[in-house]
Amino acid sequence: MQDLSPGGAHVRAVHDEFHGDLLEVSMGPHHPSTHGVFRMVVTLDGERIVKLKPVFGYLHRNHEKLGEGTSYLGSMPYTDRLDYLCSMTNNWAYAVAVEKLAGLTVPERAEYVRVILAELTRLLNHTCLAGFLMQDCGCSGTPLMYAFREREKILDLFESLSGSRMMCNYQRFGGCRVDPPADWLARAQTLVDGYTAFLDEFEALLTGNEIVMARTQGVGCMSAALAVSAGVTGPALRATGVAHDLRKVDGYGVYPRFNFRVPLGAHGDVYDRYMIRVLEMRESVGILQQALAGLPGGPIMNPAAKLRGFRPKAGEAYGRIEGPKGEIGFYLISDGSPNPWRYRVRPPSFINLTILEDMCLGHTVADAVIILGSVDIVLGEVDR
């Protein structure tokens, strides 16, 4: 078959000594299922995948290089655009790294507000992911509509607090930008109170659904040993049964004060990854209830924090938190100047994506689509 494009063939015949005649299919970068501009070159033996080569870089927008030329605070809006579903947790991880570098402490109220916003982001991300995953499975429309209905409610909260729906740019070094007023907290409480009912409705549609179970159980299995050796973090790791949640392991912020459980899977397949996220959302609702009930008064910013002329002393720091997708971390090296000498992101979705081939081997192309969906990638973070 002829090459259809100069950038790489869409479909071409290849020959393998072991398998015989194979077909190489290029999926993406424009493909409705690939969650953005991601390309997979899959080699098929009949319908089964024998080789999968991921091709990245279609959204490489020089995040790290730009971070080296921008002031510390100037990089904060760029972190919003890393994983554009979870700007609040990206902000927090970056703030943690800079606070470590500069030795800043954070007031208690700000820590509580950060927890509230991070858990709201987790709800937002996991809800949207479940919707997208079901879209990939083929139930087109309804679950995603339900997910986006809830997303809009959370985004309304984010917008009234930070001024922007998606790109919140809310955290600052040593606190948060604005103090959430009482009516905002009341609205957040209303949302949190109603979220369990939404989850019940969502689960009634999907969790016990025979088609969803047939489609996702036993598909894309990942062993715990493979997940650990590849550095997989987040729900994808916990679906294999490894109890690793930075909220428990590091106990950063005020998380040790809250009572919550870490749900674990047993099979590491697509269904487990879906279930872990649903169960995590239920735990997040519990954390939100506790955080909203226990929110202390006091300042929202450390008075010692400087916004203008911010120059941390020379040194290096790595700050990490448990984002909705896994461990999101920022590594900074300072030489005492207003901008970092080196700025590095540890993107969870990129590292979780590295074992895509291992999960997809032996499955069909249709399964590869839902396996990719269950890994939960956002290309802004994968390619940076």
């Binding site: 494009s5 100069p6 950038g7 970068p29 424009h30 493909h31 409705p32 953005g36 501009v37 870089g57 279609y58 959204l59 490489h60 927008r61 020089n62 290089k65 730009l66 030329g69 809006p77 760029y78 655009r81 554009y84 579903l85 995603l144 509509m145 986006f148 209905r149 997303r151 809009e152 729906r165 998606m166 790109m167 290309l379 802004g380």
Partner: protein, 217 residues
Amino acid sequence: MDQIAPTTVPITDAERDELRRHGILLTGLEELYNWGRSRSVWPLNFGLACCAIEMIAASMAKFDIARFGSEVFRPSPRQADLLIVSGTVTKKMAPQVVRLWNQMPEPKFCIAMGACAISGGPFKQGYNVLKGIDRFIPVDIYIPGCPPRPEALLHGLVQLQEKMRGQTISGPDAPRHLRADLDCDCPIPEFGEHDLEPPQNDILFQPPASPVRTPKA
């Protein structure tokens, strides 16, 4: 509305409304054609970056792009007539975007959604970021924002519908695809050694001349 009403119709809008009240519908072929096209714009199901999430949000329950006749997102460029460039176009992605544009059948339209698609946006300084998709394909509507709200996308869509209704189907103002003297295909750039080659489509994009200072008298 007045300035875009087709001038070939010899009666005024008021007269036509009067006739409509009596049950007589008077229209021209051009008007009917444009009305039909503008009310069923099928966008390409194509997301690039952050703006794509807002594009999806615009098609979901709260904003509901179906109210404007554009809910049919087609995954294949062969079936689409609106390309929404929703996000940062990198130099690796630009050839693919232009190829998608060439694969779409005429009449086709392009919306540059968000700061990145317009000019590179916050990532303009980046070595790998295209400084605006209008360097390679003709853009009809620009929607500023980072990302634009779904309402902004809907507004852009309504503006595009206005533009469609103002088009003529014959004469020197006819759109590209109805004119034999114009080539509709955009040349696809290649990823060269330092930059895309060519770095822009010279027919579409002329960089603004640097301002010349006139000495004061």
